[in-house]
């Protein structure tokens, strides 16, 4: 497939990268692992005049863990590294689990955690070759003014299908956003816009420069379950991440977080779980939680496989599975 032509720049510092991206406005795009971007280029969905390579910038692919501060992950850390790293596997198994579920082993070597968080939303009416796009009027995401997935909609409904975002959300991760003037830290939950056309809040010239995951207390456990047709390659048709912390082995809930992917325009944060705090984790409560997630999930017919009704039904099943798995880990008293 023929790619559009572009200039290629390798800045040696993040400041320089931000500066160039800002000067170019939307005409330049940053490239990390490139797995998401290359496909958009091959389909001519994005036609940047310049690519700004982040690979050569020192320290962006480093990761630091301490019991006091938790985990600081550079945006260029590969998914393969996250999946295989011993510290991550012991301390934050939900992260290694989610990373090992992305795409294929090849895509995990290439793809980065920052890139995965910035993954563009998907829609069958958008992610097509230039020729097969001609079958439809240009949609919102292509700069037109119709939505083929939700007829009559004035906004874009492309679905967020990243695997890492829900796992990091339930760990209450924060992202550091860098621009040419300085940096700010925001909770990952504020990073997503809920607009299918432009899924995150980054403006030209802004880059995720770090992902921070707080340390986990003891009796804490997390899990990520992903629904898809094949055990590899596919994007999540539904992904459920759950992290819970108990007071002690007795099963009194101290903190719990639940997030879904593949069923909305942004990763879906299920707020009802707050009601579980201080309660004993019994079956009825878990059913209630699954019910709340089911109600909020909004899968659409804009991803090829499996019907929206089936994916919505599976929300309950997957929340319960994720819950029991997380509980098992938490009851062992530690993280691994």
């Amino acid at each position: 497939m023929k790619l559009p032509q572009f200039e290629y720049l390798e800045p040696k510092s993040i400041g320089k990268a931000c500066q160039v991206l800002k000067e170019q406005g939307g005409k330049a795009l940053a490239i990390a692992g490139g797995t998401d971007l290359l496909m958009a280029l091959k389909n001519w969905l994005k036609t940047p005049e310049m690519l700004v390579d982040l690979k050569g910038i020192p320290r962006l692919n480093q990761m630091i863990y301490s019991n006091k501060n938790g985990l600081e992950i550079g945006p260029l850390v590969s998914l393969r590294h996250l999946a295989n790293n011993t510290i991550i596997r012991n301390k934050y198994p939900i992260l290694s689990q989610a990373a090992s579920e992305v795409g294929t082993p090849q895509l995990q070597s290439m793809g980065t955690i920052g890139g995965n968080l910035c993954q563009d939303n998907l829609c069958v009416y958008y992610n097509r070759s230039p020729m097969s796009r001609q079958m439809f009027d240009p949609c919102h995401k292509l700069g037109g003014n119709v939505c083929h997935a939700v007829k009559g909609s004035k906004t874009c409904w492309a679905t967020f299908c990243g695997d890492m975002a829900p796992a990091l959300l339930v760990l209450r991760a924060k992202v550091k956003i860098r621009d040419s003037n300085g940096e700010s830290i925001i909770p990952l939950s504020e990073f997503y816009s809920g607009d299918g056309k432009k899924p995150n809040i980054l403006k030209p010239g802004e880059i995720i420069s770090e992902i921070r995951v707080p340390p986990l207390p003891s009796y804490s456990g997390g899990s990520y379950f992903k629904l898809r047709l094949r055990k590899a390659i596919d994007y999540p048709l539904l992904g459920v991440a759950l992290n819970l912390t108990m007071e002690n082995k007795e099963g009194i809930c101290k903190d719990v977080a639940l997030a879904l992917t593949g069923v909305e325009r942004a990763p879906l944060w299920i707020k009802e779980v707050d009601r579980l705090k201080g309660k004993k984790l019994v079956e009825e409560i878990i059913e209630e939680l699954a019910e709340a997630a089911h109600k909020q999930a909004h899968p659409l017919n804009n991803i090829c496989e499996l019907t929206p009704a089936y994916r919505k039904d599976m929300v309950k099943v997957y929340v319960e599975r994720a819950f029991h798995q997380a509980l098992k880990v938490a009851k062992r008293g530690g993280q691994a």
Partner: protein, 160 residues
């Protein structure tokens, strides 16, 4: 928009002029004639274009050639050492793990990365390692067996 780059492929250094928008796959096949690396889907799904970069499996169709400077690239042509096939290649022949042959270079390289990091994989680990290599003849059983046979030392020759 062309650039001069040097690529390290199978231990040889190649001085090349590449376009910024050329994939590694196209450079390997069209400029260097290393056609063992196959172009299947050309969109990051099938794994036929798998190469090893710095010890990890990569899709050459989704990698810009210009980003491969200063990296160590191994293609299927690099598995042969001193005229001797790699044990994985011998095993593939012995186990008749090749049908049409189009996916073969890709999974051989995925398997090499697996064995380089984990010399004694379980069947499940083999399956995970080759999960990114689609075989449309669906001959996965024999592919798995041929990889496991190498891990179990049933095939002569050096792995590395």
């Amino acid at each position: 928009m062309k650039r001069n780059i040097t690529l390290n492929i199978n231990g040889e250094f190649y001085e090349l002029v590449v376009k910024t928008n050329q994939t590694l796959l196209d450079v390997l096949r069209e400029q260097l004639g290393l056609v063992g690396t196959k172009k299947g889907c050309d969109s990051g799904t099938c794994g036929a274009c798998t190469v090893i970069i710095d010890g990890e499996p990569f899709l050459s169709c989704m990698t810009l050639a210009i980003r491969c400077k200063n990296r160590i690239i191994t293609t299927i042509e690099g598995l042969v050492k001193n005229g001797q096939l790699h044990p994985l290649q011998k095993s593939a022949m012995e186990h008749e793990a090749v049908q049409c042959g189009f996916c073969t270079p890709g999974w051989l390289l995925s398997a090499k990365v697996l064995l380089d990091n984990n010399p004694n994989p379980t069947r499940e680990e083999v399956r995970t390692a080759i999960a990114g290599n689609l075989c449309r003849c669906t001959g996965y059983q024999k592919i798995e067996e041929s990889i496991l046979a190498v891990a179990e030392g049933k095939v002569k020759g050096k792995i590395n």
